[in-house]
């Protein structure tokens, strides 16, 4: 038996699952927005704007969830400053510590880009310099995009850097979470953008991106199960059924079929696909977190 089965669960439950999901959306929407801003067409700018407008509020919600989950919420700042000396508290080798800083850095970029995205309609406004194509905006978006990738994946590494069953029996969870944040974030942008006909070009590109990402997600999930080896039998249970039916079936296969069939990214079936991808992404985190917590 793996030595990981002799440990105790850290009681990371719904608040943490929600954080993993919403944090994935925050990071994902931001890196999508920055990619669209940096290489997309000018007509796609409203889609990028949407991404920035989601990312910042989402990361604020993340902060609230994380603080609420602490045993002593009023001491949340102990993650960033040493409480006795007020010097910075950072352990690069602890994903929880590094992640707290990563979250802070990401929030700063998300805030700047949020400001930059606020008044898009008036063409030029006070903060438009915070968005590409201005030099400052380009730097903010590029660095923020990298921070977004970090936010979307470090939570999987955090689970791996424990001694818990499943979580620490594979090293693929970071990659799995990252790909899933990409698929869920694309789905969210498609869903929210789908009412605007003039975005159809950008939405079509996103839909194509989503198809690739869903296939990639399927591959990483198979790799995850393979990497667990004989331990994967933990999922010969209701959790495995949820993984297979909920995450893979409802969250990947059905949306793939719907997307291939959809004649337009504005159609009802494209929208349904997006909703299912979001549901699947949430269930993925439920299965990963709770199936280990239950041991």
């Amino acid at each position: 038996m793996s030595s990981t089965f002799f440990t105790e669960p850290p009681h990371w439950r719904w608040l943490i699952i929600l954080y993993f999901f919403i944090g994935g959306l925050a990071g994902g929407c931001y890196f999508l927005a920055s990619m669209i801003d940096l290489v997309g067409r000018p007509t796609d700018r409203p889609l990028a704007r949407l991404g920035y407008l989601i990312a910042f509020p989402a990361v604020v919600v993340c902060g609230i969830l994380l603080i609420a989950d602490l045993g002593r919420p009023e001491r949340f700042w102990h993650m960033l400053l040493q409480s006795a000396t007020w010097r910075p508290m950072l352990k690069t080798y602890s994903p929880m510590s590094f992640g707290a800083w990563g979250l802070l850095v990401f929030s700063a970029f998300a805030f700047l880009s949020f400001l930059g995205a606020l008044g898009e309609d008036e063409r030029r406004h006070r903060f438009s310099f915070l968005r590409p194509p201005s030099v400052i905006g380009t730097i903010v978006s590029a660095l923020g995009g990298l921070a977004g990738f970090f936010l979307a994946s470090y939570t999987g590494v955090l689970l791996a850097v424990t001694n818990r069953p499943i979580w620490s029996d594979t090293t693929l969870l970071g990659a799995v979470f990252l790909v899933s944040s990409a698929s869920t974030s694309i789905a969210l942008l498609m869903l929210l953008g789908s009412r605007r006909v003039f975005l159809v070009g950008g939405l079509r590109a996103l839909a194509r991106f989503d198809t690739f990402v869903l296939v990639l997600e399927l591959i990483t999930l198979v790799a995850l199960v393979v990497s667990l080896g004989s331990l994967a039998r933990v999922w010969l249970s209701a959790w495995g059924a949820l993984l297979l039916l909920g995450v893979v079936g409802i969250g990947i296969i059905v949306p793939l079929i719907l997307e291939v069939r959809a004649h337009s990214p504005l159609s009802a079936s494209a929208r349904a696909a997006a909703v299912l991808v979001l549901v699947g992404g949430f269930l993925l985190r439920v299965v990963i977190v709770l199936s280990s917590e239950a041991i």
Partner: protein
């Protein structure tokens, strides 16, 4: 600097009286489970069941009986934090609440911990949990306060059979080795030390003499450091990011539908 101190627990002389458990709770003023309205386990004489934030010592009863309950034996083991020389809990703690003391023991500072619980999943032995009164993670301190005053930890002091031995690690190892040889000489060939040498997490400053496989005592056969997964986990994530990034750039760039 004092020399490394710790426990050597000889499980073969433990009688399961739980005096150590009680002494620990008394000295450290740990609250009762559920305000004293605790339930009986129903399938064991042991009703504590596990270490947690309000049980820093736990005497495990391993009941090995055959199907007809004619033949059997009891294994007793007073479990506690192993005060690992390379401690997983200390490694991940993001607040710096977990420290290594001058006695080479591992202590959680309750006024620093914010209850993130990373250490609970990081400990290879399932030692730590939240104390509901403080809202922080807690475990055995190896009676840091008593040690500072030159006293023996409460549990070792209370143990009536000297199953729990406290002292400098160097001396404890000699004592334990002699005991293993004595047991071998008497025909108990299964006796061995768990965690006494550096191969296990750099050495456990609370190590054990056992007479069956570690798993039988609920101990991991091969405990590891949590950060063993850090590099690979990060590399796979970075690779994932590159693939998603490249696919994204291609999808957003190459568009046939320019005029839609």
């Amino acid at each position: 600097m004092p020399e490394p101190m710790g426990f050597y627990t000889d499980t073969t002389v433990c009688i399961g009286c739980k005096a150590c458990e009680v002494a620990c709770k008394e000295w450290n003023q740990l609250p009762a489970t559920n305000g004293g309205r605790s339930k009986l386990s129903g399938d064991s004489y042991d009703n504590t069941r596990r270490l947690d934030g309000i049980h820093w010592r736990h005497v495990k009863f391993i009941e090995q009986f055959d199907a007809e309950r004619r033949q059997g034996r009891w294994l007793m083991m007073s479990d506690v934090c192993k005060h690992c020389v390379r401690a997983g809990c200390l490694e991940v703690c993001p607040t710096g609440a977990i420290i290594r003391t001058e006695f080479d023991t591992v202590v959680i500072q309750s006024d620093v911990c914010n209850g993130c619980r990373d250490c609970i999943g990081a400990c290879p032995f399932g030692v730590i949990d939240i104390n509901p009164v403080s809202g922080t993670a807690q475990k055995c301190t190896l009676c840091y306060d008593r040690m500072r005053a030159g006293m023996t930890p409460a549990c070792a002091q209370a143990c009536p059979t000297a199953s729990i031995n406290f002292g400098p690690i160097r001396e404890l190892k000699q004592k334990a080795q002699a005991r293993v040889e004595q047991l071998h000489g008497r025909g108990e060939r299964g006796a061995y030390l768990y965690g006494a040498d550096e191969k296990m997490l750099g050495g456990l400053n609370s190590f054990y003499l056992l007479v069956d496989k570690p798993e039988v005592y609920g101990l991991p056969p091969d405990p590891k450091m949590p950060t063993r997964n850090l590099k690979r986990g990060s590399l796979w994530s970075a690779l994932g990011a590159v693939v998603v990034g490249v696919v994204g750039l291609i999808s957003l760039r190459s568009r046939r539908d320019v005029n839609v």
